[in-house]
Amino acid sequence: MTPNKKLHFIVIDDSKLDCFIAEKIIKNTGKSESIRSFLQAKEAIEFIASAPPPEDNSHTIILVDIQMPIMNGFEFVEAFESLPQKITANYTIYVISSSINENDIYKLKNYPSVRQFLNKPLTSNNLALLIG
């Protein structure tokens, strides 16, 4: 991640507490321009698809959970990857989950847009590693 870029964050998790934790930790880094949380992945996709083009020199990091009702993390990533490339290029996806299922983690390797898998809970240390 280029350090001088403006960073925006999107958190997608059906657990309110986990969204709250992520928001706080992100805010504490002091490096975020904005943070948006979604309890439903579908709403996040709609938001991303219809968001106005980002200003230059800004990038958005998405933290998404795997197991969620209605649209799960895999479905979200699939929907994301079907968006036009000029939109997806502005985002980096990290999957963050309580899953310790090897299949889940292995399956994530098939999605080029997923940068990395992170274990819950999110801590300021491992977030710092991501954004440098």
Binding site: S15, L17, F20, Q67, P69, I70, I100, P121
Partner: protein, 368 residues
Amino acid sequence: MITPEKIKVLYIDDEQNNLVGFKATFRFDYTIFIAQNTEKAYEVLKAHTDIRVILSDQRMPDKTGAQFFEEMREQYPDPVRMLITGYTDVESVIDAINKGHIFRYIKKPWTDIDIKGAIEEGNKFYISNSLLAVKNKELQSAYDELGKFAYSITHDMRGPLLSVLGALELAKGIDSLPEIREILGMMDEAVKKLDEFIKNTHEYYNLKRGKLDFEAIDFKNVVDDVAALFRITGRMQEVKFTANIEQNDIFISDEISIKIILSNLFSNAFKYQRKNASDKFVEVNIEVKDGDAVIIVKDNGIGIHENHINNIFTMFYRATSEQTGSGFGLYNVKDALNKLNGTIEVTSVVNEGTVFKVIIPGKPNDAK
């Protein structure tokens, strides 16, 4: 007592006289089908998939009995196969036995007793084989369920725990009391969710392993017991609860199952309310009539979208991210109802409310 159905037997022989004689001899004991060639035999097998025993002559013009068995068993593996043959064909019989194509052979000329004994033995073999197939299927579905279960456990139990862990970590660095309180409130929810999951798991195993214990059910007491649980946990705050119970007859059923059904339906009705509505209600109507109990649980909550309504009884399916659902509750309801031969129907309108209608047949009093 219903007389057991006659065993269905197919006999194949190219000599018409043998076929007629066979049928005449055994038609009282078994349902006999005959075929003069293997082509005809396939037609019979196709039309009667419940044929249990097939007897075939070895020497036939189009192919031998052993050849026929070898090729037919792929398509029809279940019927027990027997070869009827004279001494001269011993080599081919041994070969057929060794390859597993036939269950036994009957030598010519046969006696009635030979044939009857063979059919009875073959039938026993058929029955134990099909029982085994049923058991295998049950075992497979139990394994599948276990896999699903283990997968879900990691999420549904670890999830709330990790949330609490994350919140604790966060709280360590916070000095503001109101913020700490906010975090505590959310930790409280996560712990309750975990607790609910564990309770539901317990119910699930009670239902799976538990035997039904039939006794007279007093619906008024049962509803009071179940409702008390919600009163204690404060779920009833702001929600008007009414129960109308009309029970004049004795109703015999399993109380634990009925409590599981009611508590899950109540729990959902209280949980999935519209947040800012001022007239929240949950209403239960129970009527015992003509030996059935008809239970209607009605709320004016958030409702269930039609896209999800067909899946709500699936294990771990959650139709909403509102509130703390385990995806287990309605599955347990359905499971309990299956055990009691009951039925459930649901009608729902988004933002207007949901009605569950349950019908449970009472167990006849004398069968207790």
